[in-house]
Symmetry: C2
Subunit: 309 residues, 2 copies
Amino acid sequence: FNFNLLVVSQRGLGKSTLINTLFNKDLDSISGKSPANSQALAEKLEGVNLEDGEHGENGTNGGIGNNESNNNDSSGLHASVKINAATTTIEENGVNLRLTVVDTPGFGDAIDNTDSWKPIVDEINLRFDQYLDSENKINRSFEDDNRIHACLYFIEPTAHYLKPLDIEFCKQVHEKCNLIPIIAKSDILTEEEITVFKRRIKKQLDEAHIQLFQPPQYGFDDEEAIQASHELFDNMPYAVVGSTDVVVSKDGRQVRGRSYPWGVIEVDNSKHCDFVYLRDLLISQYLEELREKTSKVLYERYRSEKLSK
Amino acid sequence: FNFNLLVVSQRGLGKSTLINTLFNKDLDSISGKSPANSQALAEKLEGVNLEDGEHGENGTNGGIGNNESNNNDSSGLHASVKINAATTTIEENGVNLRLTVVDTPGFGDAIDNTDSWKPIVDEINLRFDQYLDSENKINRSFEDDNRIHACLYFIEPTAHYLKPLDIEFCKQVHEKCNLIPIIAKSDILTEEEITVFKRRIKKQLDEAHIQLFQPPQYGFDDEEAIQASHELFDNMPYAVVGSTDVVVSKDGRQVRGRSYPWGVIEVDNSKHCDFVYLRDLLISQYLEELREKTSKVLYERYRSEKLSK
Ligand SMILES: Nc1nc2c(ncn2[C@@H]2O[C@H](COP(=O)(O)OP(=O)(O)O)[C@@H](O)[C@H]2O)c(=O)[nH]1
Ligand SMILES: Nc1nc2c(ncn2[C@@H]2O[C@H](COP(=O)(O)OP(=O)(O)O)[C@@H](O)[C@H]2O)c(=O)[nH]1
């Protein structure tokens, strides 16, 4: 079955790396994945991005949506957001999953980012419309569910507050898809800074009445599962680090992480960052909840609003 | 004598911390500074900023130039840059220095940052004009040299390229004051990423014909001084980390730094970041060069352009 993940970030917050860390190069299961597929994802996206000149060292043309079809602005003055998608098959819990990552290069990268959320909201709506049309067909097949099941939104780790653009984007999107904001490149923050930053972010989101995807807190039969579910919820927004590089940890283990002169941060170590929580939420535990909420709540809301116009 | 430092950064890149690290809480000389003065600098600036609501947890109003006198935009849509200045006396190499830090909160923080460099260039010009006027007086006193002697520009450590706003700002300012771009919060980057990032930045600056302040590479009498001067130059743009917190290093020393679960980064350790180079350039070694170049080259250029109109 399909899982469609929208990923929104300004350039340089480790988006490609995180996609790879989540889906491609998981050390545990790398033998179970076909190399062709596991290589595919972020590189497929980058392959699509090639016209941005990301692979050349040509400065301002790199990945800031300098695409001729939208505008002639090569100075990066105006927002120019592109929508790219890449699909691959991954195996999770013995199930084959057709994963599509929808990328939005250009978001937040220009000098003037007014309305840069608009092409992204259009894309979410487009996919809802596609589903609506297919529902009305006589011979309908629900294999092609292209609706966005979750939106991973990257917050810059300033340690202060959400930026105006962050709040604007979240407002525009939270009622249309499951919003999962994450603090990107959280290895820039100390444990204390993360605690303060998370509290402020949650307060700002509350004050703006922005709804986040919440893993269900009920229906568990054992204490351990309840505990795990609470932990998953309390740690939001997750402070994540991504890396597909294998480095040697302080105590000599081979781990995925980043090696600095002052120490080695381990991606899969929950004492170093919340990556494992994000992976649990997005992949191993709540994939089905994400799809269900999209289908039963978010899509239904869109459909009834659209049909009642 | 006066030293006037313009500091330009989007919010959250550690600007206040770096100002303090450079000027206030230097562990070596802290006993030599009057507590009243040494406390003063970044807090004076923040005191001026208080109306931004920086000290309250009120989200988007925090430090993004939401000032009533400029515009009514409290959503952070349009750029609203303020110019704040704070002055203190510091002692360096036995000389008393009247240091003024000119801060520019709001730069780069809005959704639309078009022309956000303009109030800053106006400020530089205004200070040149003040000097021009005072030169024309009959009883002139050159004690009040308020011209900007250097501009510290904070580059976001994305590890990719300079952003369009960075390039735009540098273009507008490099011929008016000594431009010293730095890579902020460089503890987010591995050594390898820093090397690549510095190379790309230099290439982009070259291609845009942007001139940086270069410490003079001549006139040294001994090999060691020549060597040190080369090192100072080759390491630009400096990758800096700031901190006034005292933490315990891996080998038990008390150091200024940041403590993470995976290790402790030391601000004054040149193997961890370039902070000591920046401090040498700005304070201990080339202060006089910065003032001279301002007075003999940059100001003269401004003066002749202005008088020939
Ligand atoms: N400090 C830190 N750097 C990261 C992290 N993830 C990726 N990077 C680095 O950030 C740079 C940009 O990463 P990339 O994934 O290309 O960012 P993107 O532009 O958002 O796609 C690369 O040098 C990565 O190695 C992270 O979690 N922490
Ligand atoms: N990782 C990292 N964090 C820093 C650095 N300098 C300051 N910070 C932290 O970043 C946050 C914002 O710092 P601040 O100086 O207020 O930033 P400003 O908004 O640019 O003035 C604080 O939590 C600081 O402790 C640095 O060099 N590296």
